[in-house]
């Protein structure tokens, strides 16, 4: 069964139509990249998938593990295995990363019918996951994203993904604002989370990220529609030719 199926998805923001019929199927273990110019609907797609109420789905279907997520709120989608790594992670002063992660992990575990982790078990779990990501201890003691550098924020996103072990990870322009070193660290983290069951949807403007997170499929999003799909070589093609020809072809 497909892991994530998007069928004829239409969505609008503040009354303006942005997504105009997206079709995409991600099978377990696959990494799909969506590339597109600014304003093509990349962030709208990730927010509609995650269940952001500010975005309105006007038609179509989103199926996660065969189940329609239409009636699920953002937290229910997260518990069902959808994870969105934010382009701009939100700063939350006053809540430590540890406290936040424990609440999140236990909310997901409760949904899965697993026992809640107590403080000691949670610390063990954190230590185990810290090995996956290059995370310094002090990042976890600090308030959620508060005063983090761009790289630290993105690393924190991937660390959260490692902790929550989602079915599918959606990376919304995770590469924006990262230097090469940070990009490599974040990509290593994502690659460590790849397995035969989990899927990824990597949304990016640039081809660069896809040198580190090598996708199985690349889709080109222009003006709210996927105008071309192909293998990883499509990313290179885009890099040399740019988006203009696609945008022109669409009009």
């Amino acid at each position: 069964m497909a892991l994530l199926e998007i069928k004829d998805l239409h969505a609008s923001v503040a009354g303006k139509s942005i997504l105009k019929g997206i079709n995409l199927t991600i099978n377990p273990g696959e990494v799909h990249a969506i590339m597109g110019p600014n304003g093509s609907g990349k962030s709208t797609l990730s927010n509609v998938l995650a269940g952001n109420e500010a975005y309105e789905k006007t038609a179509g279907q989103i199926l996660l593990d065969g189940k329609d997520v239409d009636d699920l709120d953002a937290h229910e989608r997260a518990r069902a295995g959808m994870f969105l790594a934010f382009q701009y992670p939100v700063e939350i002063p006053g809540i430590s990363n540890m406290y936040f992660l424990k609440a999140a992990v236990n909310a997901v575990r409760e949904h899965q019918g697993k026992e809640q982790l107590d403080a000691m078990e949670f610390l063990d779990y954190v230590e185990e996951k810290k090995k996956v990501m290059n995370i310094r201890g002090d990042l976890l003691e600090r308030a959620v994203n508060a005063g983090f550098s761009g790289g630290e924020k993105k690393r924190n996103e991937i660390f959260q993904m490692a902790m929550l072990e989602p079915r599918i990870g959606i990376l919304d322009e995770t590469d924006s604002g990262l230097d090469i070193d940070a990009l490599r660290i974040v990509s290593d983290g994502v690659n460590a989370l790849r397995n035969t069951e989990r899927g990824f949807l990597v949304i990016t403007h640039y081809q660069r990220l896809l040198e580190y997170i090598v996708p199985d499929f690349v889709h080109v999003l222009v003006n709210g529609q996927i105008v071309k799909s192909g293998g990883k070589e499509l990313a290179l093609e885009l890099e040399s030719e740019g988006y203009e020809s696609w945008a022109a072809a669409e009009v």
Binding site: A74, H75, A78, P89, F100
Partner: protein, 395 residues
């Protein structure tokens, strides 16, 4: 002036001035007529209110009078003296607080008891001194007068906790004077959980010497109408004052915080963060004034007032003020009033945290910032417990 003369003068001042009206600038946002017109003449009686001792040193007052029976402060470390302010009169009593307002004047004139705490030079007391003021005497006035003296290089932690029996109506009117000598450190806390029908007024006056540190953390939960006057005077170079407060108000509670920080000498720091979370028809007033005198060069002062409104009917009046007469200073202030950030709620939701829990987490996070600088761990977890309980109640 001896104590008797001081009290006579204060009684005359009180009689002359009377209670302030909303026409006076410092009182324009709260109407104290329920206190001015109320009858608070009930005779004293012992109090029957539950409390929880925090550590080894607990001093309990029952409706304003020290109860040896309920207290435990017999086995004190050397250099620390604790007793009734009636027994251990210090000539400095009344020199910081005498007749600034009708409330201070009436306290000076009528106080029947209070705490006296003195740490002699160089004595560092780690154990927090927990003062518990129990109140359940309907129709009474409770004037408590506290005196705290911290010697040179000494250290004290004092927690004042006001606990009222629910639904009793009384007027609690305290004054606390704190003297922190050079290099001394006083870590002072106030937990105000008076009856929700009570009137609570307190003036805290602190005089801070050279390289001394005074910190005050205040949590206001109780009283239907209340006011806190926090006044600090930095009189020695290198002194530091930290004053943070959190007001958690609901129903029709009104609470007024007036802060005054007087930088009289160079190179002192003061920072203040006052936060309020208001629900239903609650109202909060914050007026913070920092005075930097002409000589007080290289002053570093920061003042912030931040409020979170949980309902459309709650209201905040916030007035941060800087009054600067020196030219080489760093002073900032800010005031915000707002709601929870929807983007932060969404972020928590995408991690599996439901909106109800997210709401509670963000509200707690907002409050928790006030407790960031709390040094006494016992006080911190104690205060956090009340914050959690209050948030559970309003959510």
């Amino acid at each position: 002036m001896d104590l008797k003369q001081l009290r006579q003068k204060a009684a005359a001042d009180f009689k002359g001035k009377g209670f302030p009206s909303t026409k006076e600038e410092l009182w324009r946002f709260i109407d104290v007529s329920p206190v001015a017109k109320g009858d608070f003449s009930a005779d004293w009686k012992p109090a029957d209110v539950a409390f929880q001792p925090l550590d080894k040193i607990t001093v309990v007052f029952e409706n304003g009078k020290l109860s040896r029976e309920k207290s435990s402060f017999d086995d004190l470390p050397e250099g620390l003296c604790i007793g009734s302010v009636l027994d251990l009169v210090d000539p400095r009593l009344g020199t910081l607080a005498d007749s600034q307002s009708a409330f201070v004047a009436s306290n000076t004139a009528f106080f029947e008891d209070g705490i006296f705490i003195e740490a002699t030079n160089g004595i560092q007391i780690e154990t927090p001194i927990h003062l518990v003021f129990l109140a359940d005497n309907d129709g009474s006035a409770i004037h408590v007068r506290n005196f705290i003296s911290c010697g040179e290089g000494a250290k004290l932690t004092v927690i004042e906790e006001y606990i009222g029996q629910p639904e009793t109506t009384y007027w609690s009117n305290s004054v606390t004077e704190v003297f922190v000598a050079n290099d001394g450190e006083v870590d002072h806390y106030k937990v105000q959980r008076e009856s929700a029908s009570a009137y609570h007024f307190q003036t805290i006056e602190a005089q801070i010497g050279a390289k001394a540190v005074f910190s005050n953390h205040t949590l206001n939960l109780g009283s239907v109408l209340g006011r806190n006057d926090m006044r600090g005077k930095l009189i020695g170079e290198g002194g530091e004052a930290i004053c943070n407060g959190l007001n958690l108000l609901n129903d029709r509670q009104v609470f007024d915080t007036h802060l005054f920080m007087d930088h009289a000498v160079p190179k002192c720091n003061s920072h203040e963060l006052y936060k309020g979370i208001l629900d239903e028809k609650a109202r909060s007033v914050f007026c913070g004034r920092i005075l930097v005198q002409q000589d007080a060069q290289e002053t570093d002062a920061v003042q912030n007032s931040k409020n979170l409104l949980l309902s459309r009917t709650a209201k905040v009046n916030s007035m941060p003020q800087l009054e600067i007469y020196a030219d080489d200073v760093k002073c900032t202030h800010g005031a915000t009033v707002g709601q929870l950030d929807p983007q932060a709620l969404y972020y928590l939701q995408t991690r599996g945290i439901d909106p109800r829990m997210g709401h509670a987490m963000l509200t707690f996070a907002f409050a928790n910032e006030v407790l960031d600088e709390v040094k006494c761990k016992a006080a911190k977890s104690y205060i956090e417990g009340f914050v959690h309980a209050w948030l559970d109640k309003v959510s």
